[in-house]
């Protein structure tokens, strides 16, 4: 028996938490340096540019692009198998189940725009280096700023709620008490990461 479904599902879970969680934390940390001002932010980006191009591209493809594409495409397939019913069954966990899917849909659209415009169109095709000034020009439009903050919040919630469901899916947190502790810790992390996001995104408004 091959059980493809089993391995795909577990890979989806593992790839989301470890690889995409890593991508999210990397983005959060890099962008948080904007709080130190344009010089600090640009210095960080320049340091990243020191990585030889082929290695940098390999990292982007293997640790960013492929996991995101797999997680998104298989995730859409999973989301289509659910009929959200928080209207009749408005329990806390069920709301999170629905939010996990709503944030997923937003993220699919948001990431196509975010990666497509910044990485592929501006940096890839037009050769514009990513810098504080570039980010500032992008988010100076208030609508774009809001869409970006919502995108970050969606990614953070999806990741943090993913920690809780990961612990259930892998049989790590079994009983209701341990599942509730994991859930509270994950939501605490969610709040903290959202605050960091608001802080650095707010700094562009000043």
């Amino acid at each position: 028996m091959i059980n493809t479904t089993f391995y795909l599902r577990r890979l989806h879970s593992l790839c989301g938490l470890v690889l995409l969680g890593g991508v999210l934390i990397e983005h959060l940390l890099t962008n948080a340096t904007a709080l130190g001002g344009p010089e600090v932010f640009n210095a960080g980006l320049e340091a990243m540019e020191q990585i030889p191009k082929p290695i940098f591209l390999a990292i982007e493809v293997c640790l960013y692009a492929v996991p995101i594409l797999f997680h998104a495409i298989y995730g859409v397939y999973i989301a289509l198998q659910a009929k959200n019913n928080q209207g009749n069954y408005g329990y806390n966990k069920n709301w999170k189940f629905t939010l996990q899917r709503w944030t997923a849909w937003y993220l699919v659209a948001f990431l196509i725009w975010h990666v497509g415009y910044l990485r592929i169109f501006l940096k890839g095709i037009n050769g514009v280096p990513i810098s504080y000034e570039l980010v500032l020009s992008v988010v100076s439009n208030p609508i774009v700023w809001v869409l970006y903050v919502v995108g970050m919040f969606a990614a953070i919630f999806h990741f943090c709620n993913g920690i809780t469901t990961f612990c259930m899916t892998w049989g790590i947190a079994k009983g209701p008490r341990s599942q509730s502790v994991v859930d509270k810790m994950a939501m605490g992390l969610c709040a903290a990461m959202c605050l960091v996001t608001l802080a650095f995104m707010g700094s562009y408004l000043a």
Binding site: T5, R10, Q81, Y89, F97, M168, G171, A173, K174, P176
Partner: protein, 251 residues
């Protein structure tokens, strides 16, 4: 001034055949203390006249034990899956909306076809093999603590509340649902049943098995027998992961 007689109002979703279109009808019956949904349906059956005065075919539903043991009268009452026999009118908001559990095929009115759960139980081998080449003497000893857990899970009456409430069970998905999945664990706990543990775990790893669970945890909220379904689902997740490692490295 004459005292107004207390009544109970129902809005019932009806359907004449498995393929025909559903429609709703309203009924009003006299109130009496300790009335429940099954007793109300019996009242409607005696005199099937809608609030608009039209005489209609009596409402079809299923019930048996009338004490929350058989699971037959599961239906959607005010939006939630539960047993009609223990749904007290005093505790329900009126008008009371009754609908069939549409996760399952509807046969007529509130009557549904739950045979899909029986198929799932067969799929996960929810039984103990007793016929074999070995001699069956005394019953094997069971750890009393394990027996307590097994007793709890054995309360499952295949009513289907957990399937109806689960966002991942339905025509859009192939998930077998919490009830049959957790039954696999019950038989894995049995001193003789555990010989087939690998078979059951491999069945759960297949399409529509435990991996289709999306952790909405509605099952444990609606279970009328208070079975700790999510706890056993997490335990089974642990077990199938170990089984997957065995499948990968032991061959």
């Amino acid at each position: 001034m004459a005292e107004q007689k207390k009544t109970v109002k129902f809005i019932i979703e009806r359907q004449d055949s498995p393929t025909s279109k559903p429609y709703t009808q309203e009924f009003e019956i006299p109130y009496r203390p300790a009335l429940n949904v099954v007793a109300s349906l019996m009242e409607i059956q005696k005199n099937p006249v809608t609030t608009s005065g039209e005489r209609v075919a009596p409402v079809t539903w299923e019930c048996n034990c009338l004490e929350k043991v058989c699971g037959a009268c599961m239906m959607v009452i005010n939006g939630r899956a539960r047993q009609a026999c223990c749904a007290l009118i005093d505790e329900l908001e009126q008008p009371i909306r009754l609908q069939p559990a549409r996760t399952f095929p509807v046969i007529r009115d509130l009557l549904i076809d739950r045979s899909v759960m029986f198929e799932s139980l067969k799929r996960v081998q929810a039984w103990v093999e007793i016929d074999g080449t070995w001699e069956v003497k005394d019953a094997p000893i069971q750890n009393p603590y394990t027996a307590t857990t097994a007793y709890e899970i054995s309360h499952c009456m295949t009513c289907g509340c957990c399937l109806e409430a689960c966002p991942n069970v339905g025509p859009q998905s192939d998930f077998i649902g919490a009830s049959p999945t957790v039954q696999a664990y019950l038989f894995n706990l049995h001193p003789l049943g555990k010989f087939d543990k690998e078979k059951r775990l491999n069945a759960l790893m297949g399409k529509g098995g435990i991996t289709s669970c999306g952790n909405s945890q509605n099952c444990v909220e609606v279970c009328p027998k208070n079975i700790k379904l999510t706890t056993y689902l997490a335990q089974l997740n642990r077990d199938v992961n170990k089984q997957a490692l065995k499948n990968m490295f032991n061959k």
